[in-house]
Symmetry: C2
Subunit: 553 residues, 2 copies
C-alpha cells in the first residue's frame, strides 16, 4: 500500500496555542472557573492573548457592537500586537478602523462599512488596510467554518455568569454563530457583558463555548436601525404601497415574506390594517414574516394580520411589546425575544416566498445597488434575501405562480421585488443607464461590480408609475422595456414610446394604477394606520418604548 508520504506532525497546534494563550491571561482573571477577566486589565489581556497575524473576529454586527473590546484592541501596542487579520461583519465604529490606522491590524474581511466607508477608502488608498473580500453577512460567517476560522473572537452579550454562560437578550444576532466557529476550532472566545450575574436570565450560549468574560463599564452600543417614523411617509410611498399590495401581494397570494428597511416597505406595513382590510386580504396574505421587530408592523400585528415573526436581530424600544406577544414572536423561557441572524437568513432564503426592499439606484437591466456615491459600503444581508434560491425544492402557490426554468426542468421562483420612486429627493433619478456601483467597484479594484441585486433575479419593480412584471419578460430586451415603462421621466424611462407601453400592459408585463384598480386619489397619509411614532405607541397599548431620538411629540 502506498503509505509513502505520511506527514509526521503535531495535530493539536491550535489546542496547544489556546492553552498557552489562556495561561498568559490567567493572572488577569478571577473566579473559581478563571473565566472572569478584570475589566481594568482588558488591554493587558488582549496583548497577552493575541499573536501577530492572528485572525480575530470582532463583533461588529448590523446593530450591536462589542465596543469596549474594540476600544481596548485599538489601544494595543502595535509593537506587541500587529498584523492582525480582522473579521468584522459591520464596520460601524471609529475603533474598527483605528486598529488599522495604528498598525494593530492589517488585513480585513468584512460585509458592510456604511458609516465608516469614506475613511475606509482613505485607509485603503494609504495601504493601511488590505481587504481580503467583501461579503454578505452570512458568507462571512460561512467562511468562519471553512478558510477563515477565528483564532480569537471578541463578542458581546447582556449577561454572563461566572461559568461563562451567556444571555444575549433580544439582540442575539450573530453571537452564537461566531462563538460556535471559534469555540469548536480551539479559538479563544472573549465576551464583554453588561452584567455579571449569579444566574443568567436564560442561557443563549453555553459557558462551555466561552473562555473569558469581562464586565464592560457601560452597556454595548446598539443602533435602532429598523425604526421608521411614519411622519416621513408621504402620499407617493402610500401610492406605491397600494400598487404593491394589489399588483403583487394580492395577485400572487404572498403569505410568507421578508421586508427590507425603508419608508417604502414601512408604508406597506402601515396600510395593511386600512387598505388591506378594505380589500379583504387579512388572513390571505402577509401571515408569516422574517424581519426585525419593525415598529411599523405593530398596527398589522394588533389588527390580527400577523401569525409569526422570526427575527435577524432585535430593535431597541420593542422589548416590552415583543415580550407581550409571544404567539407572534420567537421568545425564550424568560419571555424576551430570541433572534438569530443565520437562522433567519436560512428562513428568509428557503422558507419565504417574497423579498421586497427599497433600492436607491436601478439600471436599465434592473440591476440595483444602494451605493450611490463614490464609496464602497459593502453588501450586508440584502443579496441573500434578494435572489432566487436555486437550491429550493418545495413548492407553494406564490412560488409556482412565477413558473420558470427550461422546458425539461420547470420550477417556481422567489418573488424578488424592488421598490423605489423614479426620482429620489433632490430630483436625482433612481433609474440610470449605469450604476454608480460599477465605477466605485472599478476604482476600488474589485474583480466584479458590487451589485446588490442582480437584474435577472428581480421578479418585479414597483414605482409610483406602476408595476413591472420582469419575470414574464422573454429576454433581456423585454426586461429593459418593462423597466423603462415604469421609470417615468428618468433617462431610462424616456427611451420607451407610448405604443410599446400599451403592448406591455396588454401582455401583462406592466400594470399601471388603473390596470390594478388602484384609485390614485385615495393615496394619501390618511391610509396610514399610524401617522407618527406616537400613534405606534398607542397601537401597542403603551408597550412600545421608542428611543429618545424618536420621541418627537
Amino acid at each position: 500500500m502506498a503509505l509513502a508520504k505520511v506527514v509526521t506532525r503535531d495535530w493539536a497546534r491550535r489546542r496547544t496555542a489556546k492553552r498557552e494563550r489562556l495561561e498568559a491571561v490567567r493572572s488577569f482573571t478571577s473566579g473559581t472557573s478563571g473565566r472572569v477577566l478584570d475589566a481594568g486589565r482588558t488591554g493587558d489581556a488582549l496583548q497577552a492573548l493575541l499573536r501577530p497575524g492572528d485572525r480575530v473576529a470582532l463583533e461588529g454586527d448590523n446593530q450591536k457592537q462589542a465596543d469596549f473590546l474594540a476600544e481596548a484592541l485599538a489601544d494595543c501596542d502595535p509593537d506587541v500586537v500587529h498584523d492582525l487579520h480582522m473579521l468584522i461583519s459591520s464596520i460601524s465604529l471609529r475603533e474598527h478602523l483605528d486598529v488599522f490606522e495604528r498598525g494593530v491590524a492589517h488585513r480585513l474581511d468584512f460585509s458592510y462599512a456604511g458609516p465608516q466607508s469614506v475613511r475606509m477608502a482613505q485607509l485603503l488608498a494609504d495601504g493601511k488596510v488590505e481587504v481580503g473580500a467583501i461579503h454578505t453577512y452570512v458568507e462571512l460567517y460561512a467562511r468562519m467554518f471553512v478558510d477563515l476560522t477565528p483564532d480569537v473572537a471578541l463578542l458581546c452579550a447582556e449577561q454572563a455568569d461566572r461559568e461563562g454562560n451567556l444571555y444575549t437578550g433580544p439582540d442575539t444576532e450573530d453571537t452564537p454563530t461566531i462563538a460556535e466557529a471559534t469555540a469548536f476550532h480551539d479559538g479563544v472566545v472573549l465576551v464583554q457583558v453588561n452584567e455579571l450575574v449569579d444566574e443568567v436570565t436564560r442561557v443563549d450560549i453555553p459557558g462551555d463555548w466561552v473562555d473569558l468574560v469581562v464586565r464592560s463599564p457601560r452597556p454595548f452600543a446598539l443602533e435602532p436601525l429598523f425604526t421608521r417614523d411614519p411622519r416621513q411617509i408621504g402620499p407617493v410611498e402610500v401610492l406605491m404601497a397600494m400598487l404593491a399590495l394589489r399588483g403583487i401581494y394580492e395577485r400572487h397570494g404572498v403569505t410568507t415574506l421578508n421586508h427590507g428597511i425603508g419608508f417604502d416597505t414601512a408604508a406597506i406595513e402601515l396600510i395593511l390594517p386600512t387598505y388591506g382590510e378594505e380589500l379583504g386580504l387579512r388572513g390571505k396574505i402577509c401571515k408569516h414574516w422574517t424581519l426585525n421587530p419593525h415598529p411599523t408592523l405593530i398596527p398589522a400585528i394588533e389588527s390580527g394580520w400577523v401569525e409569526s415573526v422570526h427575527c435577524f436581530g432585535g430593535e431597541p424600544g420593542t422589548e416590552r411589546y415583543v415580550a407581550a406577544r409571544p404567539d407572534v414572536f420567537f421568545t425564550g423561557r424568560d419571555g424576551s425575544l430570541r433572534s438569530n441572524r443565520v437562522l433567519c437568513q436560512l428562513a428568509g432564503q428557503y422558507a419565504v416566498d417574497m423579498f421586497i426592499g427599497s433600492s436607491l439606484q436601478i439600471d436599465a437591466c434592473a440591476n440595483s445597488s444602494t451605493v450611490t456615491e463614490s464609496r464602497l459600503t459593502g453588501f450586508g444581508g440584502a443579496p441573500n434575501m434578494g435572489h432566487d434560491p436555486h437550491g429550493r425544492r418545495h413548492a407553494s402557490p406564490a412560488w409556482l405562480s412565477l413558473l420558470t426554468g427550461e422546458a425539461s426542468a420547470p420550477r417556481g421562483r422567489k418573488l424578488v421585488v424592488q421598490i423605489t420612486q423614479t426620482f429620489r429627493s433632490g430630483g436625482v433619478p433612481a433609474f440610470v443607464e449605469s450604476l454608480d456601483a460599477v465605477q466605485v467597484g472599478k476604482d476600488a479594484g474589485m474583480p466584479i461590480p458590487p451589485i446588490m441585486i442582480y437584474g435577472d433575479d428581480v421578479s418585479h419593480v414597483v414605482t409610483e408609475e406602476g408595476v413591472a412584471y420582469l419575470y414574464k419578460a422573454a429576454g433581456l430586451a423585454e426586461r429593459r422595456e418593462a423597466v423603462a415603462a415604469i421609470a417615468g421621466a428618468t433617462p431610462v424611462g424616456r427611451d420607451i414610446d407610448e405604443r410599446r407601453v400599451q403592448e406591455l400592459r396588454r401582455d401583462g408585463l406592466v400594470a399601471l394604477p388603473e390596470d390594478l384598480k388602484v384609485d390614485v386619489r385615495k393615496a394619501d397619509r390618511s391610509l396610514l394606520a399610524a401617522r407618527s411614532i406616537e400613534d405606534l405607541v398607542a397601537w401597542s397599548g403603551g408597550l412600545y418604548d421608542p428611543p429618545a431620538r424618536f420621541r418627537t411629540w
Copy 2:
C-alpha cells in the same frame, strides 16, 4: 387615527398550552427540576403531551434517529392522539410510517424517504398520509421558523443532566436547530438520551431549551452512511478521478469544496496522496472541506493535504480518529467532533467553491436525479450544495474562473460537478432523454418534476469518456452537445458525430483524457492510497474503528 379594528385576543396561547402540557406529564417525571421522564411512562407521557392536530418534529436526521420516541409515538392510542402533522427530515424507520398507518398522524412534511419510499407510496395511495411538501433538509428546518413551527419536538442526544443540558456527541446534526425552533416558540422539547449523567461531557444545547429528557433503554440508531469500502472502487472510478483532478480541480484551482457520497468521489479522495502528489498539487487544491468525516479522506489528511473539515454530521467509527486531529476537524472542549448540518450547509453554500457528487441519471440537458425507480425518495441535502448561489458576493479565483452573468452584471459561479459512468451496473445507461424522476413526479401528483440538480446549475460533467465544461456553453443546444460528447454509447451519446466532438474539444467545451494529459493506462487500483478498509485503519494509525459490517479482513 385608524384604530378601527384592533383585535382583542390572548397573545400567549402557545405559552399557556405549553404550561398545560407540561402540567399533564408532571406525575411521570422525577428530579428537582421535573425534567426527567420515567422511561416506562413514555407512552403515557406522549398521550398526555400531545393534542390532535399538533405539529410534531420527530428527529429523523440523515444519520441519527430518535427511535425510542418514534416507537412510543407509533404505539399511542389513535383515539387519544390523532391527526398529528409530522415534520421528519429523513423517513428512515418503520415507525416513521407506522404513525400514519395507525392513524396517529395524518399530514407529513419531509425531505428524504429512501429506505421507506415504497411503503410511503402505498400509504399515499391509500390516503393514509397527506404530504404537505417535499423539501431539502435545510428548507424543512427553515420552515420551522416560519410557517411550520413545531408544537412538540422529539429529539435524541448522547447525554443529559437533570437540568436538561444536552451532549449530542459527534453526531450533532440537526438537534440544535430543531430545538431552537421549538423552544423559542413555546413548543415542548422532549429528548431521548443514551445516558443520564450528573454532568454532561460538554453542553451542546443548554438545558434552558429542553423541557423533558428520558433515558432510552438502548442507544439511538445511527447509520454509517459515509463509509465507502475502497475494495469496491475499480479502474473506471480511478480514471474518472484522474480526469476530475486534472480537468477541474487543478485547472480551476479548487481549494474549498464539498464531496457528495459515493465511490466516484471516494476515488478522488484516495488518489490525492498518489496521483495528486505526482502532479505537485498538495497545498494548491483541496485544502478546506465541508463534509462528514469520510474514512476515505484519512490518507489525504495524513499526507498533509487537508487543512480543515467542517461536518454536517458524524460517522460511526471515526470518533477516535477525529478527536486525535483537532487542527483539522471542529471539536469541542471535550475533544470530540462538533457537527452542525445547518451551519455546514451554510458553509457549503456560501463559502466553498465546488460541489461534486455522483449522479444516477442525467438527461440530455444535464438535469440530474438520484430517483431511478418508480418511487419518490425526496431531496436530502444535495440541491443546496448543487446549485449556483446567486446570493454570493465575495470573489475567489476558482469562482471567478467561471465568469458568467449579463454584460452589465458579470459575476463568478460555483463549480457544480456531476460525475458518473456512462452506464451503471447491469448495463443501464446513466444518460437518458428523460429522467425517471419526471414520470415519478407526475405519478405522485407533484406540481413540478423532482429534479435533484438543474442542468443550468451544472458547470461540469465527468464520465470515463472525458469532461464537459457546460459553463462555457453558449446556450441550451451547445450544452446538449457537450453532454452528448461524453455520454459514450448511451442513447444521449449516440446523437453526436465525431466532427462536432472535435469542434467542442477545440473550443474547450469538452476535454478527452488525451486533452488533459491523463494516461489512461495508469488508471488502475494501484493509484488508490488505500485499497481496503484495513488500509484505512493502517493509515489512521489504528485510530479508525470501522463498524463491524465493514470489518472484512
